[in-house]
């Protein structure tokens, strides 16, 4: 057993804030991601917190269902552009942060995001696109 100081082995402490948030979003379900896309405007952190409020039904001015519908509309509009911008060969990496950066590259290349929040949520949805497509199909 070796003795070591953990501070020398802590990973990715200099991650970009957007990447840290993105990796966190990769662990959330498609409903949250699509609702987040629906309310994404400006700051991606604020969008994430708003989704949490909507899930709890404590916003007097907005509902989770309305956010989902708005997210579905944005996804439908952007989907062809994202498909066209994606590289032909799927990006392969076990590193979630690299996966995230690659997804953001697709969103940027597709030029579908208006601002940081949409960039983040489009990237999160792109990484889960099969589930998002199914959810959007079921969302009126």
């Amino acid at each position: 057993m070796s003795e070591y100081d953990t501070v020398f082995s802590l990973p990715a402490v200099d991650s970009e804030p957007e990447t840290e948030l993105g990796v966190l979003l990769m662990g959330l379900g498609p409903e949250r991601l699509l609702a987040g896309l629906g309310v994404a405007a400006g700051d991606p952190v604020a969008a994430t917190l708003v989704v949490d409020q909507l899930r709890h039904g404590t916003r007097p001015d907005l509902t989770f269902e309305v956010a989902l519908t708005a997210g579905a509309a944005r996804w439908r509009a952007a989907r062809p552009g994202l498909t066209a911008a994606a590289p032909e060969a799927a990006y392969r990496s076990a590193d979630l942060r690299r996966q995230w950066v690659a997804a953001v590259d697709v969103v940027v290349a597709a030029d579908v995001a208006a601002g940081a929040a949409q960039r983040v949520y489009f990237a999160a949805c792109w990484l889960r696109r099969a589930e998002i497509d199914r959810l959007v199909s079921a969302t009126t």
Partner: protein, 429 residues
């Protein structure tokens, strides 16, 4: 073996940084306090917040929260700021959110705000993710409390006020306070803890001059400060005095100071630790509490305090049983006299157990602890009144006063309340 170094920089998190407000419309002016409610929660500290969140998730929404200053965790944070504390001793795993409903947890909340964290704070997040002990910036905790309050509708159901009397009946509990009365089906006491007063024999008559408690303003000028107490508050008082350029005498009753990561043994945050209190004779539980609920100082203070002692800025009076306290001085039982310009008293806290609100026979206090039903945390003699927080320590163990203990308490309380209000509690999320 993993070696943890007592890094003093962990204590230096910035406080009151420019943190974004909770998104959403401005909260509307709250309506007058309602005359009835399913549940009244007394106190909006971390325990009250945890109770409100847990009740929300079991579908109990007709809740009135009454708090002395009307802010979620307001007094808790005021006390922290009074002593200049920048990080919590409780790790990221401990927070007033609710387990089991996929709510955003404290560590993820910190990760979301990565851009606002310092390098040291980011490393602490990673330490927590790796399963190690971590310290949480007070700024992160405060913002998380605001978020937790917002998503569980607390701001719309929180009124400032002081509860004076509880009158339990067979079907309802009458809650009387400063200018209000609420008729509730259940009441949950989340009163927290009060500072422990000096023993009666330390002085006679009025408190001597140049003697103050830890939560009072510091002296205008003091070249030599005397700190009485062995806990984390004392360490902050010493640190602050040293920062002011004062010399410090630290009076400890114990033979040596204790440095620990957590204020209680980590096992008490888990089921096996709580099991040591389940169906255990009262005397054994008291013995465990005496042994496990002892004052200690966060490990990270050790380098500073050791250095100050070595260079003479700090004198530690170990084994200092106090006989009397006078004007700026402490007289020890062995005849030693510790004199300074100001004496700080940081003697710990006393849990509020409902005494003064409920009749004594309903509190049924024993050794300072209320008589609670272990299964529900309701007062045995007043089953519509529950207690969370430090008051539940003799049921949940010494971690009951900790933020994580609040969650254990609230799970039992919320389930009991919901079951009492309806046949089936319906989880919304």
């Amino acid at each position: 073996m993993t070696r943890f170094l007592p890094r003093p920089e962990l204590l230096d998190s910035p406080r009151h940084r420019d943190w974004p407000a909770v998104p959403g419309p401005e909260p509307s002016v709250p309506p007058p306090l309602p005359a009835t409610a399913d549940v009244v929660v007394v106190g909006a500290g971390p325990a009250g917040l945890a109770v409100a969140a847990a009740l929300w998730h079991v579908g109990v929404h007709d809740v009135v929260i009454i708090d002395r200053d009307g802010r979620p965790a307001g007094r808790f944070l005021d006390r922290i700021d009074r002593i200049g504390q920048r990080v919590l001793r409780s790790p990221y795993e401990h927070h007033p959110g609710v387990e089991g409903y996929r709510d955003c947890e404290l560590r993820d909340f910190a990760r979301m705000h990565w851009a606002l964290l310092t390098a040291v704070e980011r490393r602490e997040v990673r330490m927590s993710q790796a399963g190690h002990r971590s310290v949480v910036p007070v700024d992160v905790f405060e913002a998380y409390c605001r978020h937790t309050a917002a998503i569980h509708g607390v701001p719309a159901r929180l009124w400032p006020g002081e509860v004076r009397v509880l009158e339990p009946g067979p079907e309802r509990v009458t809650v009387q306070g400063t200018g209000f009365t609420v008729d509730a089906r259940y009441v949950v006491l989340c009163q927290g803890e009060e500072r422990r007063a000096a023993p009666a024999g330390w002085w006679s008559g009025a408190r001597p001059a140049a003697v103050g408690y830890w939560d009072e303003p510091p002296p205008a000028r003091a070249g030599h400060e005397v700190v009485v107490g062995a806990g984390l508050t004392s360490a902050h008082l010493i640190h602050n005095a040293l920062e002011r350029g004062a010399r410090v005498s630290w009076v400890l009753r114990e033979e040596s100071e204790r440095y620990q990561c957590s204020d209680v043994n980590a096992s008490f945050f888990r089921a096996e630790g709580r099991a040591r209190f389940d169906n255990v004779p009262w005397a054994d539980r008291m013995a465990l509490m005496r042994r496990e609920r002892r004052a200690s100082v966060m490990f990270e203070f050790r380098p500073e305090l050791r250095a100050a002692e070595a260079d003479g800025r700090l004198t530690v009076r170990r084994g200092g049983e106090i006989a009397a306290v006078g004007d700026g001085e402490v007289l020890l039982a062995d005849g030693r006299r510790v004199a300074g310009d100001h004496v700080w008293l940081a003697l710990g806290t006393v849990p509020s157990i409902g005494a003064g609100l409920l009749p004594d026979d309903l509190v049924a206090a024993r050794d300072g602890w209320p008589d609670l039903d272990e299964r529900t945390l309701a007062f045995r003699a007043a089953p519509r009144v529950f207690a969370a927080g430090a008051a539940a320590c003799m049921v949940l163990g010494p971690a009951g006063r900790n933020i994580d203990g609040h969650r254990v308490a609230t799970a039992r309380i919320a389930t009991s309340v919901a079951a009492g209000l309806r046949d089936q509690a319906v989880a919304r999320v």
